[in-house]
């Protein structure tokens, strides 16, 4: 239920991977949008942040740290019964950008009662290094508004 129309929304989920996690390890988090029957949520951008076990920011190479290899994570977003965008995409590429944000070409639309989930998958052949626990903090930049009928 919005307090103003439209209302900016920023949804953050945390996906914690541990040393030893292998390729294909997947963590899904649910976002509760608390939207009413006549309200929509639109997601315009996705922001990324890698945090270590002690709260420090990690570089995108840190979790594997083998010859500067990129720690490859993939993101997929489920809006309702489907993935939107329809396939998983690279989280690491977003994190390597200066603004650490991917602006979508058109918004992800979430209707009333549709579940909104963020899934992060570890996708390197080598497991995460010892002492390199990493939490991917995924932030969805969105707005909620009352539908115009």
């Amino acid at each position: 239920m919005v307090s103003q129309n439209p209302q900016p929304e920023i949804y953050t989920t945390r996906h914690s991977f541990l040393a030893g996690d292998t390729q294909g390890t997947t963590i899904t988090q649910q976002i509760n949008t608390s939207q009413s029957w006549n309200e929509d949520v639109r997601v315009y951008g996705i922001m990324l942040h890698y945090v270590g076990a002690n709260g420090a920011t990690l570089a995108y190479t840190d979790p594997v740290d083998t010859g500067g290899a990129v720690a490859q994570f993939d993101i997929s977003i489920q809006a309702g019964p489907n993935s939107v965008p329809s396939t998983a995409f690279s989280a690491s590429q977003i994190y390597r950008k200066g603004d650490k944000t991917l602006a979508l070409s058109s918004p992800i639309l979430v209707l009333h009662r549709q579940p909104l989930q963020v899934t992060v998958t570890y996708d390197n052949a080598a497991p995460i290094n010892a002492g390199k626990d990493v939490t991917l903090v995924v932030t969805l930049l969105a707005e909620m508004y009352i539908q115009n009928t």
Binding site: S3, P8, E9, R42, M47, A56, K100, T101
Partner: protein, 137 residues
């Protein structure tokens, strides 16, 4: 009370975080708006500095940020401040503005997430970039 309409505003608030201040810290921002004025926040900037004023977000950046406008949180949930501090311009632009009406309190809350590792002290500066304008009736 504005001197021009609209009037750009940049409200900054500082939080000193160390081992004695883990958890939640809340500051109130005074907008000094008249009864016929509203303040709109378009973007949020975050800096994480050490005691010498040097960026220390690489040492600790696990903060959540909450903005309370009036009786509600807008956006409705806490969100990651570290990602804002770590991006190139240290600012996130909102998809639409936060609207603060006359007499509505405007508060900023910082929560430390990985409490066990907080040493510091860190100064977390939150910058609300917006404008105050006279309401057109």
């Amino acid at each position: 009370m504005v001197n021009q309409n609209p009037q750009p505003e940049v409200f900054e608030t500082n939080f000193t975080i160390d081992v004695s201040a883990v958890g939640s810290n809340t500051n109130t921002i005074y907008t000094h708006q008249g009864h016929n004025e509203q303040f709109m926040v378009y973007a949020i900037g975050v800096d994480i500095l050490n005691a010498n004023g040097i960026d220390s977000s690489g040492t600790y950046s696990d903060f959540d940020l909450t903005i309370n406008a009036g009786s509600n949180s807008v956006p409705s949930n806490p969100f990651d401040a570290g990602a804002i501090a770590k991006n190139t311009d240290g600012i996130v632009a909102l998809t639409c503005p936060i609207v603060v009406q006359f007499k509505q309190p405007l508060q900023v809350r910082i929560d430390t997430i990985t409490n066990s590792a907080v040493a510091g002290p860190y100064t977390v500066t939150v910058r609300l970039i917006g404008e105050t304008s006279i309401i057109n009736t």
